[in-house]
């Protein structure tokens, strides 16, 4: 089951579950910026690092929910993701 994201994930906590770069696995932080191909995360030590979206599985956490995210499905600019009509796609 998956949910199509219509906006961005700025402000949420993100954890890398799987990535082709093994040094990035299990890294977590708060998303401070999202671009077309990268997430910019800030960890607790206020260090900012970039993570490429493709070939990665991420876990988004908020106060009320937690779900997994495939990076390949998010390879788009956040401003191009919004539409006039609300789209919810469940797989």
């Amino acid at each position: 089951m998956g949910l199509k994201i219509t906006y961005d994930v700025i402000g949420y906590k993100l954890r890398v579950v799987y990535h082709t770069d093994p040094t990035l696995v299990n890294r977590e932080g708060e998303v401070i910026l999202e671009t077309e191909k990268f997430f910019f995360l800030a960890d607790q030590g206020k260090n900012v690092f970039m993570i490429s979206k493709n070939q990665g599985l991420f876990e988004i956490t908020s106060n009320s929910f937690k779900f997994s995210l495939d990076g390949n499905r998010m390879m788009s600019k956040p401003k191009n993701r919004i539409t006039r009509r609300k789209t919810v796609e469940l797989e």
């Binding site: 961005d8 401070i32 910026l33 910019f40 800030a42 401003k79 919004i82 006039r84």
Partner: protein, 100 residues
């Protein structure tokens, strides 16, 4: 849908302010631009206090002492962006309580 876009745009601009207070000025600019893109694409009007919380030229959140300077000159409040030099004047009488 428009309500959601408006709420998301306001959240992003307020979040950018927190980022600027932490020192991430360049990233906060991009977040402000994204919030403005949401409001223009969804054709929603931002509240006045939100529109006046960032520099119109360089999109950096205006924080007194850090990115903004305020002076009162001849009955006007003059706000100056410390980074790009953009200025805006507001008459002291007709503020409507809308300057953050």
């Amino acid at each position: 849908m428009r309500n959601e876009l408006l709420n998301r745009a306001i959240f992003l601009i307020n979040y950018a302010r927190r980022l600027a207070e932490s020192g991430y000025l360049d990233i906060s600019r991009e977040v402000v631009k994204l919030g403005l893109t949401y409001s223009s694409k969804g054709r929603v009007r931002l509240p006045l206090e939100v529109k006046r919380s960032f520099c119109r030229k360089c999109y950096v959140p205006l924080i007194i002492g850090k990115t903004e300077t305020r002076r009162i000159r001849r009955g006007y409040i003059v706000r100056t962006c410390n980074l790009c030099g953009w200025k805006r004047k507001y008459p002291v009488r007709n503020l409507r309580g809308k300057i953050p």
